[in-house]
C-alpha cells in the first residue's frame, strides 16, 4: 500500500489567509449582498483585495473589534452577508462578548467571522498575536459553525460554503504558506471531514497545518509497517461524528493533532464523541498549557511539539496502550 506516497507530494501553497482574500473577492463579484468589515489589518487578513474592488461594501472599523462585531451583526440583520475579519486573537477574544450576545444568542445567521494568523505559526510577532484559544471560545457558542481549512483549496471551497450556510460561522486561517493537500474540485461541507489516507492500525485526526504533518507522519509510520488512517477534520463544529466512530471502531486507536491548546480544542471534542460512541485509546498532539514565544514559524512548531515526529511518537504511545 504505497499509493498515497506518490499522491502526496506536499508542495508549498498559499497561506490560507491569502486564499481567503481571493475567495472573498470572487464571492463579492458574484453576490452584491457580501459586505466586509476589518479592523486595520486588511493588508494582513487579505480583505484589502475586496476593499479595493468594492470600496462601498468595505467598512474600515479602525482598531475597535467589539464595535466591528456589532456592526457586522447589524449589517447581517439587514439583508447583508457580513464577513468580519481581523487577526483571530483580536476579533475572537476582544469581540467574544459581542459574538455571544449580538450574534450567537439572537441567531444572526448571515454573520461570518474570519480570524487569520491563528496558532503559533505566525512566528516572530509572539504570543500576544497568537490565537491558541479560539477553537475553545468559538465552539462554546451555541449555533456557531467552526471551520479550519488545511490549505488554499479547502479555504477557497469553504468561504462560499460559509457564506451561504444558514447560521453564523467562524473560519480559522493561518499566516504562513500552507502545504497543498487537496486538488481543486474536492468537496467540502459543514459537518464533513476527508479521509486523506486509508489505514487500519490507528487514525490520525488532524486540522489546519497539522494535516500536512499528519500525512508526513503516516508516511513515516508506513515505512515501519504501521497503517495509519489520516482524516482532515476541517469542520471542527459540527464534528463528523460518524467518521470518528468509524475510526474508533475500525482502527482502535486515535491521535488528534492541532495547533491549539491541547485541553480545549479539537482533541477534547473528538474525545467526547469517542466516549459517547465507541470508547477507545486516544493520544493528543497540541500546545500544552503554555504560551509560545517569538521565532521562525518552523522552529516554533518544532519546539512546541507540533510536527510529524510528535505525531509519530503519539501514535507509538497509542499503539503501546492498544495492545
Amino acid at each position: 500500500m504505497s499509493a498515497h506516497t506518490t499522491r502526496f507530494e506536499l508542495r508549498r501553497g498559499a497561506a490560507t489567509r491569502a486564499a481567503f482574500g481571493d475567495a472573498l473577492l470572487e464571492l463579492g463579484k458574484r453576490d452584491p449582498r457580501i459586505v466586509v468589515c476589518d479592523a486595520d489589518l486588511s493588508k494582513s487578513t487579505m480583505t484589502h483585495k475586496f476593499a479595493q474592488a468594492f470600496p462601498e461594501r468595505f467598512f474600515s472599523c479602525g482598531i475597535a473589534e467589539a464595535n466591528m462585531v456589532g456592526i457586522g451583526a447589524g449589517l447581517a440583520s439587514s439583508g447583508k452577508i457580513a464577513f468580519v475579519s481581523s487577526f483571530s486573537c483580536f476579533v475572537i477574544n476582544k469581540g467574544f462578548e459581542q459574538l455571544r450576545v449580538a450574534v450567537a444568542y439572537p441567531q444572526v445567521k448571515s454573520f461570518k467571522v474570519v480570524g487569520t494568523h491563528a496558532g503559533i505559526s505566525i512566528g516572530e510577532d509572539g504570543p500576544s498575536q497568537m490565537a491558541i484559544e479560539d477553537i475553545a471560545l468559538m465552539c462554546a457558542l451555541p449555533g456557531f459553525v467552526v471551520l479550519n481549512p488545511a490549505d488554499e483549496v479547502a479555504m477557497k471551497a469553504l468561504v462560499p460554503v460559509a457564506a451561504y450556510h444558514d447560521g453564523p460561522v467562524y473560519i480559522r486561517a493561518g499566516r504562513p504558506p500552507a502545504p497543498v493537500v487537496y486538488t481543486p474540485g474536492q468537496e467540502f461541507h459543514i459537518g464533513g471531514s476527508v479521509e486523506l489516507i486509508p489505514g487500519s492500525d490507528v487514525t490520525i485526526i488532524a486540522t489546519g497545518l497539522l494535516v500536512a504533518e499528519a500525512i508526513r507522519a503516516a508516511e513515516e509510520l508506513e515505512s515501519e509497517g504501521i497503517s495509519a488512517r489520516v482524516i482532515d477534520m476541517y469542520s471542527i463544529k459540527p464534528l463528523d461524528r460518524e467518521a470518528v466512530r468509524r475510526a474508533a471502531a475500525e482502527t482502535g486507536a486515535i491521535v488528534v493533532a492541532e495547533e491549539h491548546l491541547i485541553d480545549s480544542g479539537l482533541g477534547v471534542r473528538v474525545a467526547q464523541t469517542v466516549a459517547e460512541l465507541h470508547p477507545t485509546v486516544m493520544e493528543f498532539v497540541g500546545i500544552r498549557e503554555t504560551y509560545a514565544e517569538s521565532g521562525p514559524p518552523a522552529a516554533l512548531m518544532e519546539k512546541y511539539g507540533l510536527v510529524a515526529r510528535n505525531i509519530v511518537e503519539a501514535v507509538r504511545r497509542a499503539l503501546a496502550r492498544k495492545r
Binding site: V35, E56, R57, F59, C61, G62, A64, A66, N67, M68, V69, G70, I71, G72, A73, G74, L75, A76, S77, S78, G79, K80, A82, E97, Q98, R100, V101, A102, Y105, P106, Q107
Partner: protein, 273 residues
C-alpha cells in the same frame, strides 16, 4: 406612518405605559422600574409620533429601526410594543416568567419585532450602525434609533461606535441617551462621572441636542431636526428623572433594579391614576 396624535393622547399613552411598568415589575417581583419610567416619553414619542413602522408587518423592509441598547429598561419597551399592537397587552404581567415572550431582557427569539437582543450593555449602538449602513448601501430611507443608558455610556464600545459613526458620516442614525443620572450602585457622579457629557459627543463629531426627556414636543422637534442634519450622526441627550411619575421612586437610585411590593404597586398606581 404613525397616525397623528395630539399631545394629550401621547401623554395618556405615557400614563398607561407607566402603569404597565409598575404592574409588570410588581408581578414579576424583580426588574428595573427606575430606568423604565425615565424612558417612557422617549419611547412613546418615537413609536407613536416619529417612527415609520407597522405593527401588522413587523419585518416590513422599510420600517425605521429601534434598538433599546439599555436592555434592562425593557418593561417600558414591552408596554410600548403592546400598546402599539405588536404584542398582547394582557400578557404583560407574565414579565420574567418561564415561557413568557416578555423575557428579563429583550430577546429577539421571543418577539420578532425586536431588532436586537440586548442586555449586555454597550452593544446596541454598534448594531444600529450596521443597520444604518445597510440602509445607506441599499438606498433606503429608513432611520435607526438607539436608546442608550447614561451608565451604559461608561462602556468603551459606545465610544468606538461614536467614533465610527462620525468618521463614516452615518447621518441616518440617532442615539438617544436616557440621562437619568443614576445607575445601580448610585448616582452617576459618584460611580463614574460622564460630564462634560455633551462636550464628549461633540468632540466625537456628533450633532448634539440637549433637552428635557419628559417633554414630548421637545423630543418631536429634536427628531425632526435630526432628519435635517447631514453628514454626521445626531445624539439626543435627554435629561430625565429616574423613576419619573412615581413620587417615592423619583431620583432614588435603589429603584434601578428592585421591584415594588404589592403595597408600593398600589401606591404608585394611585399616583398614576
Amino acid at each position: 406612518m404613525p397616525e397623528i396624535r395630539t399631545l394629550e393622547e401621547l401623554q395618556l399613552i405615557c400614563r398607561r405605559v407607566r402603569r404597565h411598568i409598575i404592574e409588570m415589575t410588581g408581578a414579576a417581583g424583580s426588574g428595573h422600574p427606575g430606568g423604565s419610567l425615565s424612558a417612557v416619553e422617549i419611547l412613546v414619542t418615537l413609536f407613536f409620533s416619529v417612527m415609520r413602522h407597522d405593527p401588522r408587518n413587523p419585518r416590513w423592509e422599510d420600517r425605521d429601526r429601534f434598538i433599546l441598547s439599555k436592555g434592562h429598561g425593557c418593561p417600558a419597551l414591552y408596554a410600548v410594543l403592546a400598546e402599539a399592537g405588536y404584542t398582547p397587552v394582557d400578557q404583560l404581567k407574565t414579565l420574567r416568567k418561564l415561557g413568557s415572550i416578555y423575557q428579563g431582557h429583550p430577546d429577539r427569539r421571543f418577539i420578532p419585532a425586536l431588532e436586537a437582543s440586548t442586555g449586555s450593555l454597550g452593544q446596541g449602538l454598534s448594531i444600529g450602525l450596521g443597520m444604518a449602513l445597510a440602509a445607506r448601501l441599499d438606498g433606503k430611507s429608513y432611520r435607526t434609533y438607539v436608546v442608550l443608558g447614561d451608565g451604559e455610556s461608561q462602556e468603551g464600545q459606545i465610544w468606538e461606535a461614536a467614533m465610527f459613526a462620525a468618521f463614516h458620516k452615518v447621518d441616518n442614525l440617532v442615539a438617544i441617551v436616557d440621562y437619568n443620572k443614576a445607575q445601580l450602585d448610585g448616582f452617576i457622579k459618584d460611580v463614574m462621572e460622564l460630564e462634560p457629557f455633551a462636550a464628549k459627543w461633540q468632540g466625537f463629531g456628533w450633532h448634539v441636542i440637549e433637552l428635557d426627556g419628559h417633554d414630548i414636543p421637545s423630543l418631536q422637534r429634536a427628531f425632526t431636526e435630526a432628519e435635517t442634519i447631514k453628514s454626521r450622526p445626531t445624539v439626543v441627550i435627554a435629561h430625565t428623572v429616574k423613576g419619573k411619575g412615581v413620587s417615592f421612586m423619583e431620583n432614588v437610585p435603589k429603584w434601578h433594579g428592585i421591584a415594588p411590593t404589592p403595597e408600593e404597586v398600589e401606591l404608585a398606581l394611585k399616583e398614576l391614576a
